[in-house]
């Protein structure tokens, strides 16, 4: 009689996971954007429209007043908003992770974790491309090229991991009641705005505010990414080991919570 293989090697398992996540990303592209009208372009257009909107508004309201440190006002708010948009979109869609994809879970290879990774990677790639396009346009129009694009890319990756961990926790919380979590997640992402550094930098603020803000993770990502964008000239405040601790702890809690919540999630 045929004997089933008992265990597969670690790398085979990793490759299998990667294949599943890759297939899920392709499918997410098809189902979310389809082939009609602009299709995939919407993936970049959505953050781009919001980012340009916020940046223009800031530009108009600010009038002739120059920015502290003489930074380019438009690129400051544009890139800042798009980076925060990644956090907002991943976290606010996370409670629907299971319900929106329950058909996928009929495939035994598809796990909730893989579905969430596919989404996080896809949106992060879209945001990274969107930022790259705007950096190029800003470079062409204003002649201001990013100081260290690689550092900015790492900033996007930090944001992805932070949002992913936070999203896992929100998704797990839906075990207590999907509607409740859905109502809480939107205020949460709005209340994150003042902590995100989207509209300001740490050195603009008085000391006590700085101290409180630096306990939260989003601001570290924003400052780190802005250093890559504007380079030396203004002071940046971030603490990478502290940020990485936040990310690791959030993801760890998220995974544990998901494991505990799985039997109770509604499909």
């Amino acid at each position: 009689m045929y004997v089933a293989p008992e265990e597969i090697s670690f790398f085979t398992a990793v490759r299998a996971r990667c294949r599943v996540v890759g297939a899920l990303m392709m499918r997410e592209l098809h189902t979310r954007f389809g082939r009609e009208n602009l299709g995939y372009v919407w993936l970049f257009l959505e953050p781009a429209m919001l980012g340009v909107g916020v940046a223009l508004w800031q530009y108009a309201v600010g009038g002739d007043a120059s920015m502290p440190g003489g930074l380019n006002k438009f690129s400051f708010f544009l890139i800042g908003y798009i980076l925060f948009y990644l956090f907002r979109t991943l976290v606010s869609r996370s409670p629907h992770g299971v319900a929106a994809n329950f058909q996928l879970l009929y495939h035994s290879r598809v796990t909730i974790e893989a579905v969430m990774w596919a989404r996080s990677l896809l949106d992060s790639a879209a945001v990274a491309i969107c930022i790259a396009i705007f950096l190029f346009l800003i470079g062409v129009i204003y002649g201001e090229w990013p100081d260290d694009p690689l550092q900015m890319a790492v900033g996007v990756i930090f944001m992805m991991f932070l949002a992913h961990g936070t999203g896992l926790i929100f998704l797990s919380a839906t075990a207590f009641g999907p509607q409740l979590v859905d109502r809480l997640v939107h205020p949460f992402t709005y209340l994150c705005i003042p902590f995100s550094g989207m509209f300001f930098m740490i050195w603009w603020l008085p000391g006590p505010f700085q101290e409180v803000l630096l306990w939260t993770p989003l601001i570290h990502i924003m400052e780190f990414t802005r250093e890559g964008q504007f380079g030396p000239g203004v002071p940046y405040s971030y603490d990478l080991p502290f940020l990485i601790q936040w990310i690791v702890v959030l993801n760890f809690i998220g995974l544990c919570a998901l494991k505990a919540a799985k039997p109770h999630l509604e499909t």
Partner: protein, 215 residues
Amino acid sequence: MLQLEGVHKSFTKNGLTREVLSGVDATFLPGDAVGILGRNGAGKSTLMRIMAGVEHPTKGRVRRRMSISWPMGYDAAVHGNLTGADNTRFIARLYDRPVSWMEGFVQDFSEIGDEFREPVKNYSAGMKARFIFALSMAVEFDCYLIDEVIAAGDARFAERCRQALLARRSKSALILVSHQIHTVRTLCTHAAILDEGRLTFHEDLDQAFAEYGEL
């Protein structure tokens, strides 16, 4: 091998907890063809969903050491807004099958012709059943989970399904869930009865049917 160890599953609705499965133990190996008989509401679909990995047991564990199909008989494995071809490519990527070969195989086997390029939601019920069955045959699972719906389609296609499943029986495990004795008899070598949240195995089909008849 697909192994269930002390699987419990309960659902809480409106503050009431109802235990659907209370300690199911089972081991399925390639080559097994097991029919699971149970009355309506006995927890057959819950058991199926747990074996497929859609739902997770509240207590106990499920071990999968072979590839397991989606439970056939639900249309949940495919996405209605995507075309048949898109769905096929997704499943080919997911299960690491050659994409173009799989497109050809599914289009032939399901006999859906040009509608292959149409969104699945436009398919008739029969076409959809044929399409989903063809997909599962192309993947070549080690274990097929089958709901009785397959036996329901039109007679000619039901016969083709039966032949295809019998042909796979030497390599794969078949787990068929049904409340009809007839369906189990045509495909299975063993039977098990799901009653009051527990699964009892019978080596002998007739003995199982006799016991099922008394429930």
